[in-house]
């Protein structure tokens, strides 16, 4: 079992190490090779020649948070869809109800998106 797992994930481990090594080498090479001369102009953020403004953090509107919540909810739904497909494709063993179970699940979530639509939350204004 252990050897099986190691064999299966050896590519993942290899790619992880190569990735860390590549990024580390790039950073180290950059640190060693780049000329370092600090001036005030270089420390400024580039803003098309306009003098930089003191705050770069712009506060976005609360309304956009609803879109993030919608993404989160339907991401969770996608997680349940994956084992459902495997069960659904299985020809004989499952009862036909497994289709309607998922339809019921999605219908409940669909009510949420209809609610947010009716409340005008989906308007990008």
């Amino acid at each position: 079992m252990t050897e099986d797992l190691a064999l299966k994930y050896s590519a993942v481990i290899l790619v992880t190490f190569i990735g860390i090594l590549a990024i580390g080498m790039m950073l180290v090479a950059n640190f060693l090779l780049a000329p370092k001369k600090k001036t005030l102009e270089k420390a400024l953020p580039f803003e098309c020649g306009i003098p930089a403004s003191p705050f770069s953090w712009s506060q976005i509107h609360m309304r956009y948070y609803i879109f993030a919540i919608l993404f989160l909810i339907f991401d969770v739904e996608a997680v349940f869809l994956l084992p459902w497909i495997l069960v659904f494709m299985e020809p004989i063993t499952m009862s036909p109800w497994v289709f309607y179970e998922m339809v019921f699940f999605i219908a409940i979530l669909l009510f949420g998106i209809v609610y947010s639509w009716k409340k005008g939350m989906l308007k990008w204004k």
């Binding site: 989160l72 909810i73 969770v76 997680v79």
Partner: protein, 101 residues
């Protein structure tokens, strides 16, 4: 792998999360610590399931439900924190005492 390794990891992660919940005062940081606690519970459930249960399925299904509830709780709690923020213009939990009497 022995079960005890996973149990120890889960216990330490749980304690760190409890420390975060108790010590932090920024509401978002408290929420992140709650996520740590939920992850510790998930590790424990899956470890016990794969070591003791014959099929190893039950613990994984419980873990999926824990993750689902965590996602729902996280979205709702952040909405409440944003409302708190717009009411008192910071997210300090010690100052959120207006409904206390």
């Amino acid at each position: 792998m022995e079960l005890i390794y996973f149990e120890l990891l889960s216990a330490v992660l749980f304690s760190i999360g409890v420390y975060g919940v108790l010590a932090r005062r920024h509401a978002v940081l408290v929420l992140m610590s709650i996520e740590l606690i939920l992850n510790a519970v998930t590790i424990n459930a899956v470890a016990y399931a794969t070591h003791i249960d014959a099929s190893g399925i039950t613990g994984q299904i419980i873990a999926i439900f824990v993750i689902t509830i965590a996602a729902a709780e996280f979205g709702l709690a952040l909405a409440i924190i944003l409302r708190l923020y717009s009411q008192q213009s910071n997210a300090n939990l010690d100052e959120a005492n207006r409904m206390k009497w």
